[in-house]
């Protein structure tokens, strides 16, 4: 008998059916991964049987002999406290801010009725999840720990009472690439050691490959395909699954065919950015130091690194929307002045595209006004009709229909909003686009579409791309060359093939092994 089995389950919220006819199993000691885009119902599927969402679940959900569907609230609570452990997506907010780590861990250990643990026992729990200086941490408040450290505490708390089933809802989505691999490795290890069954939810196929025994793919509230992971990945039956697998970038896939670069367009020499510490504290923070790189015409350069590596800082400095305190930027050989002194003409040459598409559009403006804003500054004298025509053409270039002109940003999906943002960025014919994690917040299928769009724009318009990302596999699909960053410095550069096949710097090696 499986540890946890769901059969034909449906979930409704306020009378509306959001999940329909879902079945899956989790075996003891194995991992079942639930994959789907946002809105596919995967979180609802995992959490509703345990009473953790606003939804109501109907159907057969049997955990170790207990039927959750027919259980009353007290029994479900018992299922939560004694048999199951939970890990959630946002480590930064998942822990109670006014209780120490030790107090919360103690509560977790005792939740199934065990006796009060000794301090030594708590230290051991923290060490088991790889937390350094465990005894100090016990007395600290959660806000003192980093995101990765907090997630480890969450994991320790989730298994402290020796549950049989571990439900992890996107446990690594909010962490950067190298941490992701470590946390997944930790979960794997614990699963083997304790014989836990793991129900893992993710929107990113790549992060569960190699860890999942069973794969369940969901789309719009239904299960599209399920089966042993290796079989689904190599030989998917459904079209959706196949598209999803194709959309997920992998390092092993064949190299893309890219355009041929031309002359040097942009060069940075010893670029640096230093901030004063906020508030009254003394001292400075060096977000970027001694960064030198080159971008050619029709070329895509990837800047890859973890959070805090300085990749966004250099992108903003180049695009003229962030500060630059040392070094210089050269455009076709001549100096580009710092941010506020750039002329209109200079600004138009380099345009940014941001990570959060909807936040990059003014919610009080319509799409047609958003898209032509750069033109209004560059060529102020035109009539409204002329602007509107240019807006229409710009939208066509990004494969959006004319009806989007009158829409408001809040009515757009992530992918649509990003296309609008790209339309705005290219309307004044720039020569370099700075893309700061432009696909990271999008679902894999949508993100793959944006990458294709960018490739097409590059081959049609000859535009250069500076692609900032933490996902090296995605960068490979788009870029000729790559620069790896760590702690504000560029630690390795080279062509994509060189760097991936023969990574020299440990940071690069870590990033590659995490993919």
């Amino acid at each position: 008998m499986s540890l946890y089995e769901i059969r034909s389950m449906a979930v409704s919220i306020a009378g509306q059916r959001l999940v329909e006819d879902v079945s899956l199993t989790v075996e003891a000691g194995q991992c079942t991964a639930l994959i789907g885009a946002s809105g596919s119902g995967k979180s609802l599927t995992c959490l509703t049987p345990f009473g953790l969402t606003r939804g109501v679940a109907m159907g057969s959900m049997v955990l170790d002999g207990i039927d959750l569907g027919s259980a009353d609230a007290a029994r479900i609570r018992e299922a939560r406290c004694c048999f199951t452990g939970f890990i959630f997506q946002q480590p930064l907010t998942a822990l109670t801010p006014h209780l120490t780590v030790g107090a919360q861990l103690q509560e977790a250990t005792m939740q199934a009725g065990a006796a009060r643990p000794s301090v030594r026992e708590l230290v051991r729990q923290l060490e088991r999840v790889g937390l350094s200086r465990a005894d100090e941490r016990l007395d600290q408040f959660p806000h003192r720990l980093s995101g990765g450290e907090r997630q480890r505490v969450m994991i320790a708390a989730a298994i402290a009472h020796n549950p049989k089933l571990l439900v992890a809802d996107e446990p690594t989505s909010a962490l950067d690439a190298s941490l992701r691999a470590e946390i997944m490795g930790l979960l794997y290890q614990l699963r083997i050691e304790q014989g836990l069954g793991l129900l893992l939810v993710s929107h990113d196929l790549a992060s569960v490959e190699g860890h999942a025994d069973q794969l369940v793919v969901m789309d719009r509230g239904r299960v599209v395909e399920r089966g042993p992971a290796s079989k689904v990945l190599s030989d998917a039956r459904e079209d959706y699954t196949r598209r999803l697998i194709a959309a997920t970038p992998r390092l092993q896939e064949p190299a893309p065919k890219l355009s041929r670069p031309g002359e040097i367009l942009l060069e940075t020499r010893g670029l640096g950015v230093t901030f004063d510490r906020p508030g009254w504290r003394r001292g400075k923070i060096q977000a970027l130091a001694d960064a030198s790189l080159i971008i050619r015409q029709r070329e895509s350069l990837a800047i890859v690194g973890g959070s805090g590596s300085g990749k966004s800082t250099i992108g903003r400095g180049i695009a003229g929307i962030g500060p630059v305190t040392e070094g210089e930027i050269l455009w076709r050989g001549s100096m580009l002045p710092e941010r506020r002194k750039r002329s209109l003409d200079m600004r138009r040459l380099i345009q940014p595209v941001f990570q959060d598409p909807v936040a990059s559009l003014d919610p009080q403006w319509r799409v047609q006004d958003i898209v032509v804003e750069p033109l209004r500054n560059l060529r102020p004298g035109l009539t409204t009709a002329e602007y509107q025509e240019m807006a229409r053409v710009a939208l066509t270039n990004v494969d959006l229909a004319e009806e989007f002109l009158a829409r408001w940003p809040t009515s757009l999906s992530g992918g649509q909003a990003q296309r609008v943002a790209i339309a705005r960025a290219i309307i004044a014919s720039p020569q370099l686009l700075v893309l700061d994690e432009a696909t990271s917040a999008l679902d894999p299928l949508v993100g793959a579409g944006i990458l294709e769009l960018l490739l097409r724009l590059q081959s049609e318009n000859g535009i250069s791309l500076l692609f900032i990302t933490h996902n090296i596999a995605a960068a490979r699909r788009l870029c000729h060359r790559i620069a790896v960053m760590e702690d504000g410095r560029i630690v390795e550069t080279g062509t994509m093939r060189e760097v991936i096949d023969h990574p020299a710097h440990p940071a690069t090696q870590k990033l590659i092994s995490a993919s």
Binding site: R316, A319, R348, S360, D362, P363, W365, E373, P374, N377
Partner: protein
């Protein structure tokens, strides 16, 4: 945008009545009817009776409401303008300038402002202009804080950076991008400021420091009613009740707006 809701309707009704009544009643608010001193309500022509010197209560109520509302709206507008100017500037410029400007706000917040206003009243006389200005100066602090918070949050939003990259000058960014996005919150707090100002004005009038004779306000009416309450409680209940109703309705609507925009 604002569906017809009961509290809003009440407020508008009160305003309407306050404006229209002078044209409907044969008496002004300070006219003395020697034949009907202390007339009880519903006796004869005076609907709510007369006060201790024979002035029609309803007329006085309408006049008092007019003055109180006039002061409240004017002062709230003053606080809106000053608050937005201060808060938006501090939020937009940021850094040391913002720290200094907000430190001033924090310092002023800590003052027992009521006392300073009273001091000002005493020192510079009791002109209605000072009432407007004085009260507005008390209330702008909250608006400044709220606006500054909003502007700081907006400043980092990508669409502002995109506008900068598109070459839009700072002036236009402020006007076309920032202000429209804080308009909702500002309006909500404006609605909430009005009852605050009404309270301050009434309080001052109650103490004899606000609006002066021959003008009247709800605060003065409450004071007169309180002084006379053992003889005729209506003199207290009418203005007091109206004041409370006005405050409650304005607060409910203001909070509804605030919840909608935050």
């Amino acid at each position: 945008m604002l569906k017809p809701r009961f509290p809003l309707v009440v407020v508008l009704a009160i305003i309407l009545l306050a404006l229209v009544l002078p044209f409907l009643l044969p008496w002004t608010y300070d006219q003395i009817d020697w034949d009907a001193v202390r007339a009880p309500a519903f006796s004869g022509a005076h609907i709510f009776g007369t006060d201790e010197i024979g002035r029609d209560r309803l007329a006085r109520l309408a006049a008092g409401t007019r003055i109180t509302l006039m002061v409240a709206i004017a002062a709230a507008l003053v606080s809106l303008v000053v608050g937005i100017a201060w808060g938006a500037t501090a939020g937009w410029i940021g850094g040391r300038v913002d720290e200094a400007m907000m430190r001033i706000v924090d310092g002023l917040y800590a003052l027992p402002f009521m006392f300073i206003v009273i001091l000002l009243m005493v020192v510079f006389g009791r002109s209605i202009l000072l009432v407007f200005v004085g009260i507005g100066l008390v209330e702008w602090l909250t608006m400044a804080r709220v606006v500054r918070g909003q502007v700081m949050a907006l400043k980092q939003r990508p669409f502002i950076l995109a506008a900068e990259a598109a070459g839009t000058p700072s002036r236009i960014i402020m006007l076309r991008h920032i202000l429209p996005n804080i308009a909702g919150v500002a309006l909500a707090y404006l609605m909430l400021t009005v009852p605050q100002v009404v309270m301050v004005e009434s309080f001052l009038s109650f103490l004899g420091l606000g609006v002066q004779e021959p003008l009247t306000s709800l605060g003065i009416l409450v004071k007169e009613g309180a002084d006379d309450m053992d003889m005729s409680p209506l003199g207290l209940v009418l203005p007091g009740g109206l004041l409370v109703m006005l405050l409650v309705c304005l607060t409910i609507e203001g909070e509804r707006l605030r919840d909608r925009f935050s």
